[in-house]
Symmetry: C2
């Protein structure tokens, strides 16, 4: 084994950085044996050097991150600061000074992965970021390497623990969104400002990264259609249960059937209870990958937290160090397909629509005609009284044909009723246009909820 | 991109080999883009060259595998023949002639992985075998690379699809073992001679490979304690259900609590229905990994079949080709801990024991005394009449203390009853000795079933 150590600089020393430091300092013999040379923590850049950090050697702390990455003797820079700047500049500077970079920065990678990869390649160093997606779960490396000889057609995942905790709570207790968010905040699963999680920004960044790797193209967060879960109601969850489904905030990356484009989106969706993702509880993450030869794979584990994220960072650090020792680099960006990202309107999906309608004859015929006009087939229709969940309901199933109204009259005279329609698969644009037209019907008093149905 | 192709030799062209050939020939542009150079199938060694193989170029077939691996211009040899010899000699010869090897051969790797790794290292080439364990599921690479900075303490997996199909069938239909095996055979999930699967040899080979990689030591199939599922009865499955459990054939690799040894074993076990492995259905595989920093991870997917196995082979092939291009090698064997493998007697587990006992007073006291004498604590005791599943039963729970008999008499006069005891955790040797002593009791007419309880 080489005795001269590889030098590691750490940028950021919060929850993840402290854990990375702890593992590097306490597991040094194991890491050295696995790398083939010892590693040495050469410096830790922090904003507040006087904060108490257990187990972090005070003499390594510096507030000058730029000087640290410019030292010239650093083999690998580990970045766990987050955000776009100054991190982008620091990473680029690290590359220019010959260091490989291990990052947990989903926002930066989703915004600007291509130029960072290009810069790393230009300087003959590695850029690894397993920790940027789904915490400890090995996902980037399996997609990039284990499935390198396969053709991935779909990635469907729960990649945000905060929102999964909230939805799981709503599902198991019947709580509303606000109540579940409050509990997530109290337990530390949600941040004081939960926007990045509940509005789907965090999941959208991860979707962009996953789609780019899975389809060998470039996808940025701006390409990802994004809907958060703030509008998911207890009634939506109850509707899902009636269908044998549960609601999850999903990141979905798909190759179009003709293979000429890809899509990436984040939104709440109903998935059947029989789907492996349906049983992912609490703050856990899981990602389902469908590949042509491999079939259906699922990767499951803790999606966040100091230690799990540090595990992913350390795996990348060992790989980057091994490559440094062998004077080589690992697999870099693979974006050769240059497949374009199609807009949400092109995504083929199904809608579950709850309508508040006038309770009178002919309503269903009117509604069904609107679906037919947009060439959207109806799978099932369920009519129920205002007292949701009561026994006063009827259901019919159709075996295809765009929205032909069932014979007979469903409505009762006067008052309001609700009509739950589940469609067959259709382009999102057609489904969305159908909903717009429905809103214009006199007999439709309101659209109580719209949710996509996935995972079937 | 380099235009001179990398040359690949294929040994074996059965179900997996045909699929590997199909992907190499039909996905050549994608593979070239991902590797950085085209690959060329230079020869395919088969035993029966005249057999019809759709999509396999007849001009590439040869019966002389040795000459093929000796050509000297082969960059990577893909071995999907299986078995120990002549494969070991062919692989060694390939190394000597400068070729990296991708293998799906669990038996060989579990018998002799260390010497093959040494030979590969000696010749500066790669030995990859993702396909040897759990088919398409990325497992070897995540364990070896993604978790390279973590400390794995436990690997618990369903790694044999045939036995999982059989147990799932027994669980869902109440069928007995023979009936379920017949169905597995009829559907092609079990081979005409199912010994390797049902006696646990296949799973034991995989356990040896996983344990060696997870704990950075050397484990061969001879180190793995092995029990098949041929003695699992419908009554065992029913007993498991009563406990809120299901029965799975598990491969379990563990680091001892003191960290100084490891264990590896394959046997049927009850696991709680709430455990993620409990819901792994049919011929699917899943492996649960517990690591210190990462926490609990699970990898799920198709564990066998031509296309899934080919996916894993192709992933390794791309990696081996990339390394050839870069004139480097990937991470090789990492067995630096040299942790010894402890015998089954040292494994700490729990037993679920069903006893046929004389139905008279004092029996429970006698039985409980035997547990106490072996320092085994009883968790629960359930007594039931001969008519299994009937209402005539009583249960007690104890809160620890080695097997103190509950007060009062449980037995009824005359006849037979059955007593179901679930222990707390204890060394397998003590549990096994307890069962031997129980068999010697006059009042114990027989031991109806013994099964370990895992995953809690």
């Amino acid at each position: 084994m080489r005795t001269r150590p590889l030098k590691v600089a750490l940028l950021g020393c919060g929850v993840v950085g402290s854990e990375v430091t702890r593992i590097i300092t306490t597991q040094s013999a194991d890491l050295a044996a696995r790398i083939g040379a010892p590693i040495e923590l050469a410096g830790i850049a922090v904003r507040r050097p006087n904060r108490v950090r257990d187990g972090v050697p005070a003499e390594l702390l510096t507030t000058d991150a730029t000087a640290l990455v410019k030292r010239g003797d650093i083999d690998v820079v580990v970045e766990v600061i987050g955000g776009i700047e100054p991190v982008r500049t620091l990473i680029t500077t690290a590359f220019e000074h010959g260091a490989s970079v291990v990052s947990a920065n989903k926002a930066l990678l989703a915004a600007d992965g291509a130029s960072l990869h290009a810069k790393a390649a230009e300087h003959g160093v590695d850029l690894y970021y397993e920790a940027a997606v789904a915490g400890a779960i090995p996902l980037i490396r399996p997609l990039r390497e284990s499935l390198a000889g396969d053709k991935v057609n779909r990635v469907l995942g729960i990649v945000n623990g905060t929102t999964n905790f909230i939805l799981d709570k709503m599902d198991s207790t019947g709580a509303g969104y606000s109540e579940a968010l409050d509990e997530a905040t109290a337990l530390g699963y949600a941040e004081a400002d939960p926007t990045a999680d509940v509005e789907g920004f965090d999941a959208a960044a991860k979707a962009a990264i996953l789609a780019g790797i899975a389809f060998h193209t470039r996808v940025t967060i701006d390409d990802v259609h994004r809907e958060g879960l703030t509008e998911v109601t207890a009634a939506d969850i109850a509707s899902a249960k009636k269908m044998g489904c549960t609601v999850k905030l999903l990141a979905i990356c798909e190759r179009a059937r003709d293979g000429r484009s890809v899509t990436a989106r984040v939104h709440p969706a109903m998935i059947p209870l029989s789907h492996p993702l349906a049983s992912v509880r609490g703050a856990y993450n899981a990602v389902f990958v469908e590949a042509e030869a491999a079939g259906q794979l699922m990767f499951y584990g803790p999606g966040a937290g100091g230690a799990p994220t540090a595990s992913a960072v350390l795996g990348d650090l060992v790989a980057a160090c091994r490559n440094k020792l062998a004077a080589t680099t690992g697999a870099g960006e693979s974006a050769y397909t240059q497949l374009p990202v199609s807009p949400m309107g092109d995504v083929v999906t199904r809608y579950h629509i709850s309508l508040d309608v006038a309770d009178k004859p002919g309503v269903l015929a009117q509604v069904a005609t609107v679906f037919a006009e947009h060439d959207v087939s109806i799978d099932t229709v369920r009519q129920q009284g205002r007292n949701q969940g009561g026994g006063d309901e009827a259901a019919t199933e159709q075996d295809g044909g765009p929205g032909a109204p069932p014979s007979g009259s469903w409505g009762r005279e006067g008052g309001e009723a609700s009509l739950v329609v589940v469609t067959h698969r259709a382009p999102d644009a057609a489904l969305s246009a159908t909903v717009s037209s429905l809103r214009k019907l006199d007999t439709v008093r309101g659209v109580a909820s719209i949710m996509r149905v996935e995972g079937e």
